[in-house]
């Protein structure tokens, strides 16, 4: 057991799997000698060798196509896409190939890749280093999408994803790499030290895909979040004074529908929080699923708090970012209704 930040936990998960399974390969732009632009793969090439962790051409489509071919051969590739914004050139490979290979070949071939990619805003990255593309993956049958919110989960989920025989999009909330971030950007930066979920066991352990965590039990309203927004939600709940139950989805596909439904049936109220722009975002799916399953339990309308329907604007990062204040207001609206 050691205290790790999220980057270290991810690095450690890769280290564990590289050591334990010769079929695991890590590659992507700048991930080799340099260890990745966020240091997520730091030291892995030196420790495990040039062919186990290496740089690739700047070609996201090529990276994923290569990974699929490796997967078809029998390896477990763990490609990194440097920013989730740059996953789009590989979108066809992910959708038309990775997601569909098992189904169309009746199980003759499959693509057990785990595509790691930092996502989300809060680091003044501007329009193309801040986006949250999870909704477009959630709609693709055959893809799993996992989003951890803390070091313990990050390692356990990443190992589970690598060991999973289906293609997994593993989105890493880059604003959480070095510390939990609750959206109070004016405050002094926190580190993971002392956080209960920063105690990370040394060896192999998994956090199962498709199992949400109840971060904070509560009676009055259910808050659903994932990634960075789990921390923002905690802050917003604190601000609001509402006795909210906070669910960290951890993976959006598979989705832990049972935990969600049980909570909303209990509280009768629900607020969904995500950083991606609202329209067509994953919040819509969640809202629809909940009202379909909890219609008679709902005391007030399900609220969505999300990024605006604009691009992610550099100077207005904190105006765009759905911070604790916006959640807190939604909680109050939800309670008042």
């Amino acid at each position: 057991m050691a205290t790790m930040n999220m980057l270290q936990a991810i690095n450690n998960a890769l280290d564990v799997k590289l050591a334990e399974d010769p079929d695991v390969l890590v590659f992507g732009e700048d991930v080799g000698y340099f260890g990745g632009v966020f240091n997520a793969t730091k030291g892995l090439q030196e420790k495990h060798g040039l062919t186990r962790c290496f740089d690739t051409p700047i070609s996201e489509g090529g990276i994923i196509a290569t990974a699929i071919g490796m997967g078809a051969y029998g390896l477990r590739p763990v490609p990194e896409i440097q920013f989730a914004d740059y996953i789009l050139p590989a979108f066809d490979q992910l959708v038309s190939e990775a997601a569909r290979l098992r189904y169309r070949s009746n199980g003759e071939f499959w693509a057990p890749l785990t595509v790691r990619s930092p996502y989300g805003g809060g680091i003044f990255g501007g329009q193309t280093h801040s986006q949250s593309p999870e909704a477009i993956f959630a709609h693709i049958t055959g893809l799993k999408t996992v989003i951890p919110s803390n070091p313990y989960d990050a390692k356990g989920l990443l190992i589970a994803a690598i060991e999973d025989d289906d293609p997994v999009i593993f989105l890493e909330p880059k604003r959480l790499y070095n510390g939990p971030f609750d959206g109070r950007h004016e405050e002094v930066v926190k580190t993971w030290a002392g956080h209960p979920n920063a105690d990370v066991p040394a060896g192999n352990y998994t956090v199962p895909l498709g199992k949400a965590a109840i971060v904070r039990p509560g009676a009055d309203v259910t808050v659903i979040a994932y990634g960075t927004m789990v921390h923002v939600a905690q802050a917003g709940i604190d601000d609001s004074g509402v006795d909210a139950e906070l669910i960290d989805l951890r993976s959006i596909v598979p989705l832990d529908i049972d935990t969600i439904v049980a909570s909303v049936r209990k509280t009768g109220r629900c607020v969904i929080l995500h950083e991606a722009s609202r329209f067509g975002g994953f919040g819509g799916e969640l809202s629809a699923l909940i009202q379909e399953r909890c219609f008679y339990h709902l005391k007030s309308k399900i609220e969505r708090v999300a990024g605006w329907d604009t691009a992610y604007p550099h100077a207005f990062e904190w105006d765009y970012f759905p911070g604790p204040a916006r959640l807190s207001e939604a909680l109050k609206r939800s309670m008042e209704a």
């Binding site: 051409p57 196509a65 051969y73 066809d92 490979q93 098992r102 070949s105 009746n106 003759e108 025989d165």
Partner: protein, 411 residues
């Protein structure tokens, strides 16, 4: 800066040499006489190979003689097997095409005129190599004695369809036959061949991969990405462009053939590029062996352009006389691959017209019988796999969504 007077710009749109009603011509396609192109050592420096993309490697001359340095070491039995597989492919495809006209399937695609490529490559590579085919590659399976009944059941989407009704007809998958899962999207598996080959190299295996792509599809980003990765990591892979002169209705000029050969694209990646007579079974065999030997000796990838001609329409969905002269095939300068190999074998006294006719009859009868067998199981719509197959295989283990939806559907 002072503006100099320059002519008005204009936009160039390529047009083919002949449209319906015109006299076909293939004068724009550079040919080399059979036997003329040198055969370099497999470890020749790329610098010494830069002229190869502009030549045409041919072995069989017009008389049916095998000439020049590229004549491969093959037995007459090998060639007769190749001839048989090509013919079987043609007979099979023609029957399935007709079956489509009879409503027995929703779709079919033929490789008529291009059978030498799939068959010769299938025979040139090892049984544990992996091919990443196009939809015009059923000859690969036939050359490896994949059961024709399984192809027919797939085409009829019937109860015994090995792909459980999930796939469009002809988009086979046959792992044990070194035949990777096809998809409707063109091009998107070219890079899988490279990844597979890289994996083999990483595992210090001996197996190599073969990727195929149509000349029209070389315009996709996938083509470039695959070649870039293959070149950078010296992947043990053969990447082949089947240049059959046509995409659906677009001629090869829309893919850049006015400016360069497809083999010349190898130069962009510093790898050897061979341009090969795609209707010449012997030349294909020789070139594939050469590239395979390079790959197996850690010398990296080779790009091969096979110059051929799509003698039929693109698929059951188009009428080629709508966009090219009806008699264009007759003007194709490289002949028909089956005829050419047959002529060669006869020239060698290893075959005869009678044997050929007999083989054709035998294959027709056998395919007809197998088709009957498939029809007995069922054709499109009157037999299909259990509908539960629709819900299987999305993930390795079904998640609650498909479980619920199965229930909702009532099964």
């Amino acid at each position: 800066m002072a503006k100099k007077k320059t002519p008005k710009l204009h936009l160039h749109i390529p047009v083919p040499a002949a449209r319906p009603g015109d006299t076909p011509t293939f004068d724009h396609i550079p040919l080399s006489p059979a036997g003329q192109v040198l055969r370099p050592k497999i470890d020749t420096q790329e610098e010494q190979l830069r002229n190869f993309p502009y030549e045409l490697i041919r072995v069989l001359d017009d008389a049916g003689q095998a000439v020049g340095p590229w004549v491969p070491k093959v037995s007459a039995d090998f060639l007769r097997a190749g001839l048989r597989s090509m013919l079987k492919t043609r007979v099979f495809e023609n029957r399935m095409f007709a079956a489509h006209r009879q409503g027995k399937t929703s779709f079919f695609i033929k490789s008529t005129g291009e059978e030498a490529i799939s068959v010769a490559q299938s025979m040139a590579l090892e049984s544990d190599d992996m091919c990443f085919p196009t939809y015009r590659f059923s000859g690969w399976l036939i050359a490896r004695d994949y059961p024709v009944i399984d192809m027919i059941n797939q085409i009829f989407s019937n109860e015994k369809d090995p792909l459980k009704g999930r796939q469009l007809p002809t988009l086979y998958s046959a792992r044990d036959y070194g035949f990777y899962s096809l998809s409707g999207n063109v091009g998107s598996r070219f890079g899988h061949a490279v990844g597979w080959a890289m994996a083999s190299a990483y595992k210090n295996d001996h197996r190599i991969a073969l990727g195929l792509i149509g000349e029209g599809t070389t315009a996709e980003g996938d083509f470039h990405e695959a070649l870039t990765f293959a070149s950078v990591y010296k992947a043990p892979v053969i990447l082949a462009v089947t240049n059959n002169q046509w995409a659906i209705s677009s001629f090869s000029g829309i893919a850049g053939a006015e400016q360069a050969t497809f083999a010349a694209k190898a130069l962009a990646y510093g790898i050897p590029g061979l341009r090969v007579d795609g209707n010449d079974f012997l030349a294909i065999t020789a070139a594939t062996r050469w590239a395979a030997e390079r790959a197996r000796n850690n010398l990296g990838p080779t790009l091969i352009e096979f110059v051929t001609y799509r003698a039929s329409g693109h698929s059951t969905s188009d009428d080629p006389t709508k966009y090219r002269p009806a008699d264009e095939a007759q003007h194709w300068p490289l002949g028909d691959p089956i005829e050419r190999l047959k002529t060669h074998l006869i020239f060698q006294n290893e075959w005869s017209e009678e044997q050929h006719t007999k083989m054709e009859e035998e294959l027709s009868a056998s395919i007809r019988a197998t088709q009957k067998e498939g029809e007995a199981v069922g054709t499109l719509g009157n037999s299909k796999p259990s509908v539960s197959e629709m819900f299987e295989g999305v993930f390795k283990e079904p998640d609650w969504r498909v479980i619920e939806q199965r229930r909702e559907f009532g099964i």
